[in-house]
């Protein structure tokens, strides 16, 4: 049996198999359009959330009578949110799904590179994502605590330390 001899068999079989499969082209196109809209909506929500954090803490600095330490915490949170937006924006641009139009060899290479970058980003998520926000929150709450003296300082610090460790542990566990 030679491969050339099987070409006709294959083509007839494929045509027959295709004839038995129903594809509604118009419905398919519409579902693809709604899928693209859903992706665009998700990106928009992510951006709005980051902007909301920045606006909220900027407003707190500007309009409320916060103590100096809490203002410093707000500033760290704002800078952290900006840094996260930048890192995610850059990664999103670099890690766009590999074009399916390149050769299979190139596609496999690019996919591996993309995967490596994603792994590195996930492994370091505590430093670029969690740390800035958590440190900012810790400073912010410390400032509030020092001002209003709701609880003894050591209790606040213990609470913040435990909270921070818990978040780091959860993040490490999810990325392990």
């Amino acid at each position: 049996m030679r491969l050339e001899d099987l070409r006709q068999v294959w083509n007839e079989g494929s045509q027959m198999s295709a004839a038995q499969t129903t594809i509604n082209e118009a419905k398919l196109r519409d579902s693809f359009r709604s899928f693209e809209s859903a992706i665009a909506r998700r990106d928009l929500i992510e951006s709005i959330a980051a902007i909301a954090v920045i606006v909220f803490f900027s407003f707190s600095i500007w309009k409320t009578d916060l103590p100096g330490v809490a203002i410093a915490g707000c500033a760290v949170i704002i800078l952290g949110a900006i840094e996260i937006m930048i890192v995610m924006g850059i990664t999103r641009r670099m890690d766009r799904p590999t074009s399916h139009e390149v050769s299979i060899l190139d596609y496999s290479r690019l996919e591996l590179r993309r995967l490596d970058r994603q792994i590195r980003l996930l492994k370091n998520v505590t430093t670029w994502y969690s740390a800035p926000i958590l440190i900012g929150c810790a400073i912010f709450f410390l400032g509030i605590m020092l001002q209003f003296r709701v609880l003894p300082t050591y209790l606040w610090l213990a609470f913040l330390g435990a909270f921070w460790l818990c978040i780091v542990w959860l993040v490490m566990r999810s990325t392990a």
Partner: protein, 158 residues
């Protein structure tokens, strides 16, 4: 830019053949949908550098290979169950070369399978080589090896 629905009409047998070659029966529709989605998304960037059929193959094969590599589908070959082996034997007795060819394809590696799909669809070794990003010579050698595997497989199974 080519019309999506027209392109689908002309190439649907190819997409279905690729989905059949890379997915189990239960997952076939998912893979077919993923292939069509990637074709639809890539269509706007098609500039006619390659023939439309070759371009379609490239996008569809990359999608199928990526889909297989994704989580939960890490096996490089679709395992053939005992019942399927029995089915091959049954089919061989009724001489259904198309079904036998499909079974043979499942014994090949992902790349060899992709290569054979294009070859059987009457693409030249040069077109296949270009799709894979390798030299024409290397592709001819690969096709020759698949031919040898087919000989061995038919001796063992028919």
């Amino acid at each position: 830019m080519p019309d999506f629905e027209q392109l689908l009409q002309q190439n649907r047998h190819r997409f279905i053949a690729i989905a059949n070659a890379y997915a189990r029966h239960d997952d076939r529709d998912d893979l077919l949908q993923e292939i069509l989605l990637q074709i639809w998304r890539g269509l706007s960037s098609y500039r006619g550098q390659a023939a439309l059929a070759t371009w379609c193959y490239r996008v569809a094969l990359n999608t199928a290979l990526g889909w297989q590599r994704s989580a939960g589908r890490r096996s490089t070959r679709i395992p053939i169950s005992d019942s399927e082996v029995q089915t091959v034997a049954d089919r061989s007795s009724v001489s259904d070369p198309y079904q036998m060819l499909q079974q043979f394809m499942r014994t090949l590696s992902d790349i060899d399978r992709a290569c054979l799909l294009m070859y059987l669809d009457n693409f030249s070794s040069q077109d296949i080589a270009e799709t894979f990003g390798v030299s024409d010579g290397a592709m001819r050698v690969r096709i020759h090896r698949i031919q040898e595997q087919l000989m061995t497989w038919t001796e063992q199974n028919l």
